[in-house]
Symmetry: C2
Subunit: 188 residues, 2 copies
């Protein structure tokens, strides 16, 4: 694991996602989604963490935030935060993430959707963990708002089973779900 990097890639999707009524929408970027998932990713050696939004104003906002922590006062004040946010990239669409990774890696990554509900084409945690153990590139998609839109589910190679905690309640924040999933895939 040279420079502490695995072959796991993350994307946090802000469009197309669903609202409460399962209509397809675009969501706004949440500051702590960037920080928390970048820090969890860095802890486990996630190679890159993509923030996906089709909106120019959201790109401007994320760019400003990243500049603060990578080049501005934040970089000097908190070098650990810098080290996590260095692996964050902005993209316009999920297709754009897949294209950019395919170009970089010379092969298409395995694209895995996550969801709080059971989806088709499930791959279990241990099978995916094994692929990562063999250094196969894996792109995990996380949905904001009420989750990834069906079109993203359909275009993914597989989906992970929902995280169940032994109760009927399944409303984890995307920050918590991402942390748990990364730990299950890469934790010791």
């Amino acid at each position: 694991m040279i420079d502490e990097t695995t072959t796991l890639y993350l994307a946090l999707v802000h469009h197309p996602v669903m609202n409460k009524n399962r209509e397809v929408i675009g969501s706004a970027v949440t500051n702590l989604d960037i920080h928390d998932i970048a820090r969890a990713g860095r802890t486990y050696g996630v190679a890159k963490y993509f923030i996906v939004s089709p909106y120019e104003d959201q790109h401007a906002l994320v760019t400003e935030l990243l500049d603060h922590w990578l080049k501005g006062h934040g970089a000097r004040y908190n070098p650990a935060r810098k080290s996590a946010l260095e692996r964050v990239s902005l993209e316009w669409s999920v297709a754009g993430v897949v294209e950019s990774l395919t170009a970089e890696l010379g092969k298409k990554p395995l694209v895995i959707a996550t969801s709080a509900a059971s989806q088709g084409k499930t791959i279990d945690f241990s099978a995916l963990r094994e692929k990562l153990g063999k250094n196969e590139p894996v792109l995990l998609l996380f949905g904001t708002a009420h989750g990834l839109a069906p079109e993203i589910m359909q275009k993914s190679d597989y989906s992970l089973p929902p995280i169940l905690g032994g109760t009927s309640y399944n409303h984890l924040s995307v920050r918590s779900a991402a942390a748990i999933i990364i730990d299950r895939l890469l934790g010791s």
Copy 2:
């Protein structure tokens, strides 16, 4: 597991915690710490989630937040959030949490500190998981800011080992650390 409850209790400590320079301070309550950890707790059947602060203004703030989601517009808009936040309680100190739980349970819970650094008196995840499997009451303490102060460490029965992700980086948010720890203790 009647009414979806285990014997795991959580406390998020805002005093005494440490700042960057390892001085003992009190920290401000963060909105998303309450929501994220309450939702993760509810998912896994955590019995109660205590917010610990010695400051009256912070109690007023948390009370206002809880009222919105438990009794106000939030309760009607998002019943799932209500169900998570119903298990949140405010306390003035860690000692107060232990007293109130001891009174409620008729015995002192096992008090477990968490930390990003190795501490003394470690209990590993599987041993603690086994205790929870036998319905022994366990109180997990999480520190905000730069972690629990030494006096809290010393008064705890045990500490959990830090969460390592296979890299030298260990700067998880308390929200992510709590989610991962709860999953390791109660997840299937």
